[in-house]
Symmetry: C2
Subunit: 218 residues, 2 copies
Amino acid sequence: MRLAELSEHSGLPTATIKYYLREGLLPPGRRVSATQSEYDENHLRRLRLVRALIQVGGLPVSTAREVLAAVDDGSRDLDSRLGAAVNALPHGKESTDPGNDVSAAAAAETARELVSRLGWDLAPASPAYRMLLRAVAGLHRLGYPCDLGSLMPYARAAADIAVSDLDLVESLETTDARIEAAVACTVLYEPVLLSLRRLAEAEESNRRFGGGSRSGQE
Amino acid sequence: MRLAELSEHSGLPTATIKYYLREGLLPPGRRVSATQSEYDENHLRRLRLVRALIQVGGLPVSTAREVLAAVDDGSRDLDSRLGAAVNALPHGKESTDPGNDVSAAAAAETARELVSRLGWDLAPASPAYRMLLRAVAGLHRLGYPCDLGSLMPYARAAADIAVSDLDLVESLETTDARIEAAVACTVLYEPVLLSLRRLAEAEESNRRFGGGSRSGQE
């Protein structure tokens, strides 16, 4: 399809598509004349992912470019490409509250125990693991519950979600489609999860403490 | 205790505590002389919550003040206070991708069905519900899976987490302690949940696609 059709099918203005082409977020089309290129389904699918990362996920263009480079690294297997792409995503901001060694050590110990109980075989240097350590250290420093008993329900919930998400990824046919969907859903489902947690907690609080009436809660 | 002791017990510089007092985030102590006030355990607990919201959670001071006003509204029951406090928290940024009516309507229908299946009795105007609608509309707009089958595992995981979190809240003795812990943990456990989801997905991906080896994933 031509640029105009790519624009129509994707719902994106041609100017936006040209911008993504210039920024290297979208691979060039197949040149068919001095002024025209031909695009295909792969371009459409890539545009979806770019929108997911930038327009919905709010990633800076440079971060999105890093994520896409990992997605496109055909020399590696699906798991490695997916891991590298997710590692390139933002992993929350650093706390402005300086940590201390006691809390950091306690967090490391708890996280190690958690991962060991779950039988997970993780890369300990991964950004997600460091994000977990920061979060647990923050809880520890402030004296809020962050022992294995408090963390385990979160980990089990995360494991349940991962099985369902990877089922979905596995249902797709090509490796490219699988990786792109997995990366997009990693980003796009985060607000789904956080909002559902708040709703579930409001529901549970109402059940326990609110007498079942929602008046005054709106 | 005096200000110096409050500083020592909380680990916060006196200048920071004075700043929180000036900003109305910490209630004044009981004045015992022209230059000295007496603080108690309630001040210590409140300081923990303020640090959770501002230093770890990254909330602006004005938002933290709104949250604390809801926490302190003694005219309402625990559920209402908690609901109002959580509603005052940030609920993610708006997408820069303009929505369309079709996706918004589809998201509203899916969310309604989801909540109905779960038997949740929610305030539909709540910020968390609107955040869910935005997220699902974004998925729909980009053509990523967002039907009931994809969302339900997230909702069930959220419900499991809510039960465990509210068990913890209920184990605390006073209403004030319960609300403060609930609000702090709402904020502080979000990065725990997001990081654990990424770790669980890396684990699941490795199990399915990576042949069990983690080489190249760091």
